[in-house]
Subunit: 844 residues, 2 copies
Amino acid sequence: MESMMIYAPIAMAIVGLLFMAVKRSWVMKQNPGDGKMKEISDHIYEGALAFLNAEYRLLAVFVVIVSIALAVVSYVVPTTHVLIVIAFIFGAIFSALAGNMGMKIATKTNVRTTQAARTSLPEALKISFGGGTVMGLGVAGLAVLGLTLFFIIFFHVFMNGVWEPTTIDGVTMSPQELMTIVLETLAGFSLGAESIALFARVGGGIYTKAADVGADLVGKVEAGIPEDDPRNPATIADNVGDNVGDVAGMGADLFGSYVATVLAAMVLGNYVIKDMGGAIADAFGGIGPILLPMAIAGVGIIISVIGTMLVKIKSNDAKEAQVMGALNIGNWVSIILVAISCFALVKWMLPETMNMSFFGEGLQEISSMRVFYATLVGLVVGAGISSVTEFYTGLGKKPILKIVQQSSTGAGTNIIAGLATGMISTFPSVLLFAGAIWASYAFAGFYGVALAASAMMATTAMQLAIDAFGPISDNAGGIAEMSEQDPIVRERTDILDSVGNTTAATGKGFAIASAALTSLALFAAYVTFTGIDGINIFKAPVLAMLFVGGMIPVVFSALAMNAVGKAAMEMVNEVRRQFRDIPGIMEGTGTPEYAKCVDISTKAALREMLIPGVLTIGFPIAIAFIPMLFGMGNMAIAEMLGGYMAGVTVSGVLWAIFQNNAGGAWDNAKKSFEAGVMIDGEMTYKGSEAHKAAVTGDTVGDPFKDTSGPSMNILIKLTCLIGLVIAPILGGHGNEVVASETSSEEVYFIDAEGNKTILTEKQVQYIETGSTMVEGDNLKDKTETVVEMLKNDNNNQVTANVTITKTVDGVETTETKTFTGTEEEVRAQLKDVEGMKIKIKDKE
Amino acid sequence: MESMMIYAPIAMAIVGLLFMAVKRSWVMKQNPGDGKMKEISDHIYEGALAFLNAEYRLLAVFVVIVSIALAVVSYVVPTTHVLIVIAFIFGAIFSALAGNMGMKIATKTNVRTTQAARTSLPEALKISFGGGTVMGLGVAGLAVLGLTLFFIIFFHVFMNGVWEPTTIDGVTMSPQELMTIVLETLAGFSLGAESIALFARVGGGIYTKAADVGADLVGKVEAGIPEDDPRNPATIADNVGDNVGDVAGMGADLFGSYVATVLAAMVLGNYVIKDMGGAIADAFGGIGPILLPMAIAGVGIIISVIGTMLVKIKSNDAKEAQVMGALNIGNWVSIILVAISCFALVKWMLPETMNMSFFGEGLQEISSMRVFYATLVGLVVGAGISSVTEFYTGLGKKPILKIVQQSSTGAGTNIIAGLATGMISTFPSVLLFAGAIWASYAFAGFYGVALAASAMMATTAMQLAIDAFGPISDNAGGIAEMSEQDPIVRERTDILDSVGNTTAATGKGFAIASAALTSLALFAAYVTFTGIDGINIFKAPVLAMLFVGGMIPVVFSALAMNAVGKAAMEMVNEVRRQFRDIPGIMEGTGTPEYAKCVDISTKAALREMLIPGVLTIGFPIAIAFIPMLFGMGNMAIAEMLGGYMAGVTVSGVLWAIFQNNAGGAWDNAKKSFEAGVMIDGEMTYKGSEAHKAAVTGDTVGDPFKDTSGPSMNILIKLTCLIGLVIAPILGGHGNEVVASETSSEEVYFIDAEGNKTILTEKQVQYIETGSTMVEGDNLKDKTETVVEMLKNDNNNQVTANVTITKTVDGVETTETKTFTGTEEEVRAQLKDVEGMKIKIKDKE
């Protein structure tokens, strides 16, 4: 059975997807209501489709461009395989598919929830949560299915499915080295997923807020028609926006996190095997530590299925507490089951004790139980950050009450209070988070950090179900209002909506925590991939890049916020035009061109995404390649890029927490006025001056929490992923790649296991030129480092004579250095020699 | 002459202070006006005194507590000298003196400026700028005087004023080592200055905004009396606040920066000497690289005197452009003169070529010209960041016009636009800044970075003169208005005020740039002091601390903003009480109790400072000492603390730029309405809806730009200074402190120069215990590392047998390691051995 374990995650993903299909057809069979209800719902569905079509057209172009670039890189750089292009394309397709699926089901479920709420609250919950379940299982199932499938394919292509040295293109490589290539190629899948997520999240965020503001300004203010009135051409865009932003954006975000987390853990698992001597004897073909994260992800899907089945209420008179309780039961049971299965899987799949190299402390013996403790850390921090988020943004909590009080003295004080709340919420969040890094690393190194993230992400399907249920209920309430249902219907959907608001906030906390841990795991994988000694911010260029990286999330947020403003103005103009040009539109006899508004919102969103996108993708690439043009060494560049990644991650996490929580707090401060709040001993309601101040705060909070804030998650993940994809260009695969040149001019690799392999001419050239990748006669600037290793006569001592020949603009200079010691010590010192690409001349 | 160079900065500081005294008596001799003018001015002066008295009472307590703590530490830790306490106290006194002096002259100059403006604009400029000059020269003169004086004293106490080994307490130490103790003790002066600056800046910031908001809410809104009406009890507090925040706060801030920059450059100069073999033969007693930063600072004072003399206009009909031009001439001439004198001083005082060790690249030969280039980088970045600040916050510039446009759709969009402007302004600022780090380091290592900061700071007196002239003119305008002068008087002061607004913005840019470069220099000094290998953020605890450090400025800002809100409410209650209880107050027959409002504002400000202060001071101390309790090694702690410092610096710089520029932009967007702005083709003025939205934005911007934003400067400098003061407790002075134990159980130091000295028993104990500082029988946990150095027979090879004996909870474990190579190589490797506190047994 153990040897088939590699296929188990696929099987579990398929089970999850089958369950999803069953649930989906059950939801679709529910009564979609009639008349106006159905009409409104159909408009939203069509709008969503229009958005998807426009988005996919644009994204297809992007995917083609990136694919070509990746193909060129994989042709030029021998350590990158062209299959990465295929992986990238499928990553993009799977991510788009997941978002598509989620958005479609959400737009179908809302009206059915309204219909069910006409008779029964338990039924309404069952349907809305059912829709969420379809979305959650779809995203998680596709993520596990895609990642596992491509892993198996690449494992067979590069390694014939076994952990043994293999010969490719005449070069024999160690299994370690081959697995690194497998995982680097697999990183393409993650890159594809995360790129699409960037557009989905940021584009969706701009879209939803542009439509929202545009519809309100012309419809409510200028034309004097109510919110969500079907005569308003932007109304459908507005409702589509809710689904685009909250449902599809979150789905793509978590799809990306899921894939990236598992991938990073697999990369670090490969290095656990390396630390244990390059091979382990286990029942899983020697790749237990690599399979474990996939296994946890697969089991997590099954657990989520169980968890979703526990979410139900019985009484038609249930209140928020009961609904919340039902969700909590499902959630907590899932988390506990994940903890139990992590224990079992770790026990089963990992060697009882492992060697892991800890930075600066050398190899340490780690029992598998410590890996389990690391997964517990992940589960605790996931729950912890959700609670912190709930505290700072929850209705009736102290911070919200304070903002409400401050609203009484005007918008200015309301804004200050909201900003301060968001800012101060970073305190417990960051402390929790720093504690999690520390603890999970102390338990099991960066493999522990990655597995902490994996365990947390195992309940993704459940989390997403809880999360997607919110906007579905929100839309259901809107449909109830628009189609003039009995007040009891709205009351019932309001109960669901109110619970949905809370889960939305905790969901955002979960998304941040997952993104942050994922980024750290990717960061660790990057450092290990490139083989650098660490990232030393005492080196000025690295420190400079830490500053630049820290600045990126701030500028990104500003661009996203400005984009919302610009896109909203375009929407305003289009709505004005339709009111003017379409006859009978105000009387309800002319049909507004909904699709045009949807198209404007879509195009504006995707166009405005350009600069933030270029910023995100362009900066790490520029940092990697511009210094190369100036002849900087690859290791120095790799360290700088690492500093940049750390800057983006630290600053990105801070700004994500700040913006999401400030936005959430303003939103709920405003909502507090709906039920009435006590200010200075007086009950204050909607329409008061204090409420107007709170509305202003919410206007500021909208792009914070729905556009720039959530984008931070993807910004940091994508930055780290791009670093990981660039890693093979910069680095030495983490093995000591030393080439040995004998007198006959044949050049060998000696990998970490001591295997010698002949290099192809292209590979030699790459090694010889060190920091440049150019071929043929284009080698104007090159650094050739020749190491002559001489055996001394006593004590196993060797002497290494290092000759570094630098050619800059055709001028050649030569420098020599000498190292003495045992071979191991000398090799360690040679690591610091420029370029790390060295040829070793055996003593003749 | 060269040998007397050490006294030159003192002489120049005294020249500056004498010039200041002359200028001061000239200003004081000017006509202070009469009647109401004088009355208002006197009230402001008395209020300022009241604030100073209250502040100094509280700060005296703080100084006593910290002094006791420092004394205890210097008793326990043998590498810290008790003189640090004296230095600390004087640093605090000098800083307080500088703030005091500036605030007094500012409150005396304002009314004289008003009086002069009744007849002549050139005269008004001469007086207001004269007041600024007094402030600038006072601050800079005291800084150079105090720092140089204490350096000379300590240089004589510890080293008898010569660069030679000296015996203290029976231990002979190398000059390198002794100079390190001199500079560590001198760090106390800087710590004292910066601590007072923290209170002055943050307390002042809370004070001014609390008084401002309090006075407006009750006076303008409730009682319906005009702004600055003398019947309003809070009006004096409000005017005092302007001086407290803008004048004294900025003065203390720059005083601290000036001292810290020069100190950091001196520390790094000491390491330049180390890299050159421990001694250089120059005409300056062998300490040229250490004296250079002081010399630049001293010359900078003389240059500033010249610069201030160039600021004058002739025509009584001059406009803003001419006034700005006059200031620019003074400023640019100063900068150019600094560049020229840097060239001369570098040529004169530094060896023609130096060795500097670059991280990871070993020793490199650096010509003194490259140090000069580094100073140019400092001058360019200072000017560059000022221009960037002006662009993002200047009246009539594109970003401001955009915020004005966005005000037409309400406060929400105004706020979003302002936030986005502040955020996006980090882009050019950080790029400039990262470029400066990179370039100055590339030219001359971290010594280059520190000298870039020193050169930039050389014009501090001039910058401060330009900066203080702004609030003086502002107050002068206020007095003109209140005392009902001819409109022409207000017109003239308005011209000065308008120019002052621009210089205030650029001054803030200068303050940020100086704080940031200073922090980097301190950071570099810290790393070198502790002797750690760098700060590797790939180590999980270091990364965790990078996150925690990044969070501190955010939380600090939130606390400061909340403090403003709380303090303002207290002010409101007191003003209400006085209106109610004092008979005849509204009729002008009863005198309001101004001092009570001033007292409330002062007490509230200082009380509210408590938590931010504890956060700033407590966190680095906690990070240093809590892990010690758990037995973590000193080097690991030093690296963690370094990560924390980097986090605070990166995040602090970002949040400083963001908050200052957003606040400045909102302010000027509001001011734009005074002259009228074109929105959608229509001229819009004060009182319009758009203007109201802009006022709301300004309310949010006030604490941003006057409280939390400027505090960031001090937060980052103080954090790095605390690190520097803790450094000797953690680290090994940057020299390889290796102890050699002979068979007779005597223990020697071998310092970097190879000098052997016998250690006292206390010192041996410290060295033996490595990570713990406890004495006597309290040594439950200890790590003893014994290195036996054996000479091999061939090739100068040595073998080092390392025995590490760890005692944890009384259980002893032993580990052995062996290193072979030349003595130099082996020593390099020994650096990595835990604790770095090792004993070397000579071969018997």
